[in-house]
Structures are given as structure tokens and as C-alpha cells.
């Protein structure tokens, strides 16, 4: 836990103010207020359907919110496409089901966005990609296709793919929940390494070990609201609200 305390600066990376979101008439997110410092590592947990994914997806504008404001790295997420593009190129995202592009090789998966969005020359993009593939420890798979890789490897490629865009913030939406137990570890290791490099991270996960080891802060959501947030140690040992207690008893009781 102690290593995780490093490199949290005062700069604010993400600032969410009074944010509300509806799906049709269904109020998914209610009055969300959240400030994330640069370098902070936040774990979000909560029961299914509580709006964790939705929150994460609002931050890089995969979903639009209807009230309040989200500011990422000083850019206000408005309806302006320019701003949305700017935010997306600052923020990397990893999905539960990896969502690699099955018709492209691993290397092409990683270089696609740098080349087309960042306009990086291909050569340079490939070098960067190999660098990050090495970081996630699968440089030798560069010329294979996603379908030829195991789930854990695929998720690591997905992380590398995001990193190739040199994001300043990474979002993870249950990155390990579609994986077999053996593979979970390799992905978590990669994420821990990333955390050690000081990346700002928001991670939806139920891996409590990971939360303890890496997070600066754990956020508990229920019914579209942030119910409780605290340092991991406090959060796990001394939950404040009853809802949190109940939830923790369930997932830790396993």
C-alpha cells in the first residue's frame, strides 16, 4: 500500500460537478461530485446496476450526461466535438471484453489510433507500440491476431493499445471480470506496474486485493450515487454506511 502513495500531485485531472444522467426516464447517475488528482488511483465498486460503468463511460463521453459538468484535464466536456476528441485522446479506456479489433494484428491494433488520430508516422507508431507491448510482456505476439491469444493476453494488448495513445488518464471497466482466475493475475500485475509509473487511473473492479494494494481511494456507488469514499484501509476495515457494510460482507465473504 505504501508504494501506492507516491506521486499524487495537487493538479486536478478530472473534476465532476453535480453530474446527472438519465436513460430515458431512468435516473442512472444522481448528483455525482468527484475530483481526481493527477496521479491518483481510484477504485470504484458497488453492486451490479449501480451505475459504475455509466460513470466511467461518461468521463470519456461514450455516454453524454444531461446535467452538471465534467472537466477532464481542463477541458470541459460539452457538446462540442472538438472537446470530445481532445478528451478522448487524453483518456484511455479498457473494457471488460477487451474489444480488440479481430481483423488486425496485435501490432496494427496498437498503431491504428496513433497513426490515424495522432497522425504519428507509421514507423514511430510501431516503435511506441512495441515498447508498450514489451511493457505488458507480450512483444512476441505482435504479429498474431487477437483470436490467437488467451483472454489475459488480449486484455494486456487492450491496455497497451490504450497506452499507445499516450493518455494521461486510464479508465478500466471491470478489466478482469471476463477472465479465468489464472489470467486475472497477469492483468492485475500489468495494472499495478502502470500504477507504479504514476498513471492517473479510475478502475471499476471487485478485486479487493488490487484495491488494497494500489488505490489511493475507493469509491462505493449504489443506485446511481456515490455512497461512500475513503482510503482503502479505512474503507475495508471501517465502512461507514450500512449499504457498504452489507456489500463488503457479501464480496469478502466469498
Amino acid at each position: 500500500m505504501s508504494e501506492a502513495q507516491m506521486k499524487v500531485s495537487d493538479e486536478i485531472a478530472i473534476s465532476i460537478k453535480d453530474m446527472n444522467k438519465w436513460y430515458g426516464t431512468f435516473h442512472v447517475l444522481r448528483d455525482i461530485n468527484l475530483d481526481v488528482q493527477r496521479g491518483e488511483r481510484i477504485v470504484i465498486c458497488g453492486p451490479s446496476g449501480s451505475g459504475k460503468s455509466t460513470l466511467i463511460r461518461c468521463i470519456n463521453a461514450l455516454e453524454e450526461h444531461q446535467k452538471g459538468s465534467i472537466t477532464v484535464d481542463g477541458t470541459l466536456l460539452s457538446s462540442d466535438v472538438k472537446n470530445i476528441d481532445k478528451v478522448r485522446s487524453e483518456v484511455g479506456m479498457c473494457f471488460q471484453h477487451f474489444n480488440l479489433f479481430p481483423h488486425l494484428t496485435i501490432l496494427e491494433n496498437c498503431t491504428l489510433a496513433p497513426i490515424w488520430v495522432r497522425k504519428t508516422p507509421k514507423k514511430e507508431a510501431e516503435e511506441t507500440a512495441m515498447h508498450f507491448l514489451e511493457k505488458v510482456k507480450i512483444p512476441e505476439q505482435a504479429d498474431k491476431y487477437p483470436g490467437q491469444l488467451s483472454g489475459g493476453q488480449q486484455q494486456r494488448v487492450a491496455i497497451a493499445r490504450s497506452l499507445c495513445m499516450k493518455p494521461r488518464i486510464m479508465l478500466f471497466d471491470e478489466p478482469t471480470s471476463a477472465l479465468d482466475p489464472e489470467m486475472i493475475k497477469e492483468v492485475l500485475d500489468t495494472m499495478i506496474e502502470l500504477a507504479e509509473d504514476g498513471m492517473t487511473m479510475l478502475c471499476v473492479t471487485h478485486e479487493m486485493g488490487f484495491a488494497r494494494q494500489v488505490a489511493n481511494r475507493v469509491i462505493f456507488m449504489d443506485a446511481g450515487q456515490i455512497v461512500e469514499q475513503n482510503e482503502p484501509e479505512e474503507f475495508f476495515n471501517n465502512p461507514q454506511s450500512d449499504r457498504t457494510k452489507l456489500f463488503l460482507s457479501q464480496i469478502l465473504g466469498h
Binding site: 453524454e64 457538446s79 462540442d80 466535438v81 470530445i84
Partner: protein
């Protein structure tokens, strides 16, 4: 810029698209108008009311050459529906039989059906239409070959004549009390359903399973026959008879109708056979086994388990085959069958020169039929959807 704001982005695109569409349409229409003006023509629908002046050989509704082009088009429309209906029914029968036989464990039969399906699916339907037409007109005897004592050809049972102008079959002549016979017939059809329902309820209520096949046939036939003879045979058969150049009397199934009907049925039947096969194969073998393990006999398994499920898979493509038949029936023009393409899109168009108007109405006619058929299909699909979690 509007285009960079997500709120207005899609509206902007749509407005641009709409303007583009309006311009494109406007351009085409203005070309049309100026071309028409150059040629001194105009768009007018008056001709629909004018005298058609031509004769149509197959007239399911009353028509003569002094009636209007509109009436002639209606005759054509009814003829389209007739051939489409006949072809749909026969294609279904043929397709179901071929599809089921193709799955049969009889090697010869299943291979034969495979050959049928592949041969007919892979050759244009127009060729089949023309071949049937040509073969029949060249191989079958001319009506005059039936003439004389030592005639070269003879009628079947003195009632049916196969000639190279089509097939002549007897027609029913309705006498005074014939409506009673018809009514009895209709009633006995209802009776068959009622009886089957009764048998079913009997089984459900008492567990007694009575035979249904023979009684059904009996109910279907006997009352009508009885009434028919009691009333002194009020319905006569009018057999075709050779008079002058042609057979007179009876019902004349023209060569063009037969060629079109058979070709469409055989061609589409091959596609339907594939649908049927796919539908039956889509039902997992486990269903058959489970039913067999419950002690059910193959016939029951088919009718209670396999068919109800296979039908859901088969019916949607079947209906789109019906659509294809209706559309392909427009090939009537190749053999001179007077469907709507032959009357409205053919003779009327030629005689009046109103190409744009005629083709527009022609397209609308087919469009309305297609849309109605797809509407029926949607209703069916929604009604039959399997309940899922």
C-alpha cells in the same frame, strides 16, 4: 460550427442530406419536365378512362375491347394474382415434399431431390418459362388432331384435352339448386374441422383416441354426394368439345398460364425445398429423442414436436418466396400471359404511349402487394416469437 456540436451535428447532417435530396429530385424532375416540354408531351391520366380497343384472352372479370384501359389493367391485375396464387400453392406443395424427401434416408430419393433443387435453383427462371412454353407448344398435339374417327390424339376420359394451346378441362355448370350442394360442401368442410376438434376434446377429456382420417374423408365427401343426388344432380360438368378451330366449353388453361405457373412453381419450389430442409434441420435432434423417449411415435413426433417448431423457421423465408413469385410473375410478358405487366405495362403502354404513367402505376401495384405481404410476415413473426427470458 454547427457540425462540431453534438447537439446540432446530426440535425445539420440531416438538413444537408435533405437539401441534397431535394436538389437531386428537383434536378431530375426539372429534366423530366423540360424533356417532356421539348417533346410536346405531358403527364396525364386521362387515358385510363379511354377505350382500350384490344382484346384479352383470359378474362376472369368481365371485359371487352370497348371497355377502358383502366378496366383492362384490372383484368391484368387479377390475372397476376391468379397465376401468383396458383404458383404459390403448388410451389409450397412441391417444396415441402422435395424438402422432406431430401432428408429421407432413402439414398436414391434424397439424391434425386438434391439434383432437382440444384438444377432448378441455378438456372434463370426465364429459361424455364420459355422451355416449358416451347416444349408444350411443340410436343403436344394441335386441337385438330383430335378430329375425326381415326384421330391422332384422344381426350382423357373424354373430358380433358391436352393441346398445344393449353389444357381444356371440364367446367361446372351450376343448376337451379346448385347452391344447396355448394352450401353442403362448405358446411362439410366446417364439419371436418368440428369433428377434428371434437376428437381432440374427446381425447383431452376422456383419453379416448378415435380415428380421424377416414371419418374426416367421409364427412368431407358423403353429405355433398348425397345432397347432389337427392337434388337430382343440379351441377353438371361441361366437357370441352372440339368445335371449329378449337375446343369449346369447359375451362381453358392457356399455354401461357401453364408455362408461367409451372415454371414459377418448380423454380421457387426448389428454393422452398431448401428452406424446409433448413427449417427441419434447425430443430435439434434432441427434440426428436426426447419425444421418442416419452414413447411418442414418429408421426406424432413430426406433427406435435417438429413441425410446430420448424414452421417458425420455415414460414418467414417462405413468405419472401411468395413475394418473389409475385414479382417473377411479371415475366408473363415473355410468353404473352396477360398479367398486369402485359396489359398495363404492355399493350396499354404501347397503344397510348403513356410510358411514365403506366410504369409508375405498374410499380405501385407491385409495391402495394409486396408491402402487404411483408406486413403479414411481420405480424406472423411477432406472433410466433418464442418466449425468452
Amino acid at each position: 460550427m454547427l457540425i462540431n456540436d453534438t447537439r446540432y451535428r446530426s440535425t445539420t447532417f440531416q438538413v444537408i442530406a435533405l437539401i441534397g435530396l431535394i436538389f437531386a429530385m428537383g434536378y431530375l424532375v426539372s429534366n423530366l419536365l423540360s424533356n417532356l416540354a421539348d417533346a410536346g408531351l405531358n403527364i396525364s391520366w386521362r387515358f385510363f378512362g379511354e377505350t382500350a380497343g384490344y382484346d384479352i384472352n383470359q378474362m376472369p372479370i368481365e371485359y371487352n375491347n370497348q371497355m377502358s384501359h383502366g378496366r383492362a389493367s384490372m383484368v391484368g391485375a387479377v390475372n397476376t394474382l391468379i397465376v401468383a396464387f396458383l404458383a404459390c400453392v403448388s410451389a409450397t406443395v412441391l417444396g415441402v415434399i422435395a424438402g422432406v424427401l431430401r432428408l429421407s434416408n432413402n439414398w436414391v430419393v434424397s439424391k434425386l431431390m438434391a439434383i432437382y433443387v440444384e438444377a432448378f435453383r441455378n438456372v434463370p427462371v426465364l429459361i424455364w418459362i420459355l422451355i416449358i412454353f416451347l416444349v408444350m407448344s411443340n410436343v403436344l398435339p394441335q386441337p385438330r388432331e383430335f378430329r375425326g374417327d381415326a384421330a391422332a390424339s384422344a381426350m382423357w376420359f373424354d373430358m380433358i384435352a391436352f393441346t398445344n394451346r393449353g389444357v381444356y378441362v371440364p367446367r361446372m355448370i351450376m343448376g337451379d339448386l346448385s347452391w344447396l350442394v355448394v352450401a353442403t360442401f362448405v358446411l362439410s368442410i366446417a364439419g371436418v374441422f368440428a369433428f377434428r376438434r371434437y376428437a381432440r376434446n374427446l381425447l383431452f377429456n376422456t383419453g379416448r383416441l378415435i380415428p380421424t382420417l377416414l371419418p374426416s374423408i367421409g364427412i368431407f365427401i358423403i353429405p355433398t354426394v348425397l345432397v347432389y343426388f337427392i337434388l337430382g344432380s343440379p351441377i353438371g360438368l361441361e366437357s370441352p368439345e372440339l368445335k371449329g378451330f378449337n375446343f369449346k366449353g369447359g375451362l381453358h388453361l392457356r399455354l401461357s398460364l401453364i408455362a408461367l405457373w409451372f415454371a414459377l412453381a418448380i423454380y421457387t419450389g426448389a428454393f422452398i425445398a431448401e428452406n424446409v430442409r433448413a427449417g427441419i434441420q434447425a430443430i435439434s435432434h434432441g427434440q426428436t429423442e426426447a419425444a421418442a423417449a416419452l414413447g411418442m411415435r414418429p408421426g406424432r413426433i413430426m406433427s406435435l414436436i417438429i413441425l410446430p417448431q420448424a414452421l417458425r423457421v420455415i414460414v418467414p423465408p417462405l413468405i419472401s418466396q411468395y413475394l418473389n413469385i409475385t414479382k417473377n410473375s411479371s415475366l408473363a410478358i415473355a410468353v404473352g400471359y396477360m398479367d398486369i405487366t402485359g396489359t398495363l405495362g404492355g399493350i396499354t403502354l404501347n397503344q397510348t404511349g403513356r410510358a411514365i404513367e403506366c410504369i409508375l402505376v405498374l410499380m405501385l401495384f407491385y409495391l402495394v402487394i409486396s408491402l402487404s405481404i411483408s406486413a403479414i410476415m411481420n405480424v406472423y413473426n411477432n406472433a410466433m416469437k418464442l418466449k425468452e427470458r
